[in-house]
Amino acid sequence: MIAIVDYGMGNVASVKTAFLNLGYEVEITDSLERLKQATHIILPGVGSFKAAVEEINQRRLLEPLRELAQEKPFIGICLGMQLLFDKGYENGKSDGLGLIPGEVNKIETEYILPHIGWNQLQIENNNKPFAEFQDKHVYFVHSFQARTEQEFLVATSDYGTEIPAIVQKGHVYGMQFHPEKSGEAGIELLKVFLENTSSVRGQVK
């Protein structure tokens, strides 16, 4: 069972539908017991970094999520990806999950914000499983972006500045765009995440 973490930040129905269509059982839950039972953890989210951290804290899930990310395939989507980093600076400074080194700040660009729309992926570090997605358009909606080291970048997108679009450290992945809203390319990208992490899949605590 794939678990989508329910912490009250944004609609997650489409994320669920995307994984259902890929043939997986999916549960939207904030129960630690259920999260421990899951094969994969999906951390979605729309809204502000600080509010998200507060919601996760209220559910006493911050530390458990850090632990779950050590043993299971884990993917953060949109705000969920931003939460993977050490710190965020939206509405003041807050600590994230610290699963990937880096910080989240307002996008600095001469272009209009929010960064809304279909932007192209630039695959970084000659990342083979993702190579076929070079120049593919995916759907972004955000005003803040991660800043991290080159080694964790799988793909970036150019918006007058380089925006990390896909990040990865071990079996922890992040997608800044919405794969569940990015048509066929988005679904295919989720498939790559599932395939790339298949060796760690299925460890149930």
Partner: protein, 252 residues
């Protein structure tokens, strides 16, 4: 590079997609969920539902349509029409809409824009502006384009941005249904005033009208309704026309 978006708009009345010209004269075109799904597969970058139901039952039906669409459509979709309160916004977002558009209610109660933006974020707060030319200015029109508010449309665009709107859906009442192309002057005036994405709407009659508005203004997206529904041409034909003119679009 970010792609220019091509958006089919579905006018929905009491659960059915209808066609209207200059906001009047309606004709039944089909099932909204089926149509949205088929557009998303054939390359639409986004779908907009405009609820023009006259009854509460019609509005409730819209929520069900949104729920079904969220289960079937893998591109973003926006719902507008009849949104009067923060509860309406909440209900549509909860049902699965990615963005909610507000129009008349935003004019009578601009605080609704601020409230929606603060609570749900600028990214899902869309303000629809229907504008009509009066001399060298444009006025904001409400009630399906029939009522002149006397408000300067350019000033209003600036205000909705300040209040936290993440996007403007700009319809020219003058060109809507005329099929001679988008209202370039109005679109340019609004795009050059605000720093949020603008969707141009009203006036498409042929695929070339899309690259025209993208070349002549910095608008982020173009919207059309009846020409797509009547199979006058397809989303792909619009994208082909854009490509020929060197406009960056998404290849589905």
């Amino acid at each position: 590079m970010i792609a220019k978006r091509i958006i089919p708009c579905l006018d929905v009345k009491e659960g059915k997609v209808v066609k209207g010209t200059n906001f009047v004269g309606l004709r039944d075109l089909g099932d909204p969920v089926e149509m949205a799904s088929s557009y998303s597969i054939s390359g639409a970058d986004e779908i907009i539902f405009l609820d023009i139901s006259a009854t509460n039952e019609g509005r409730q039906t819209m929520v069900d349509i949104v729920r079904q669409t969220a289960e079937k459509v893998f591109v973003p979709f926006t719902v507008g029409g009849g949104v009067r309160s923060i509860e309406d916004v909440n209900r549509l977002l909860k049902a699965g809409a990615d963005k909610v558009g507000m129009n008349s209610a935003a004019v009578t109660n601009p605080g609704l824009i601020t409230e929606s933006s603060e609570r749900f974020g600028a990214q899902c707060t869309v303000v629809a502006i229907d504008a009509k030319r009066f001399g060298d200015k444009w006025h904001v029109m409400t009630h399906g384009g029939s009522k002149d508010t006397g408000i300067d449309a350019i000033e209003w665009a600036k205000e909705v941005e300040t209040r936290g709107a993440g996007e403007i859906l700009l319809t020219s009442v003058d060109t809507d249904g005329v099929k001679n192309g988008f209202d370039i002057a109005l679109t340019k005036a609004v795009v050059n005033t605000v720093r949020i994405p603008v969707i141009a709407s009203g006036g498409v009659g042929k695929p070339e009208h899309f690259p025209e508005v993208f070349k002549e203004t910095d608008v982020s997206a173009g919207l059309a309704a009846s020409i797509f529904h009547e199979n006058t041409f397809t989303v792909q034909e619009v994208k082909d026309a854009c490509k020929r003119q060197g406009v960056n679009i998404r290849e589905a």
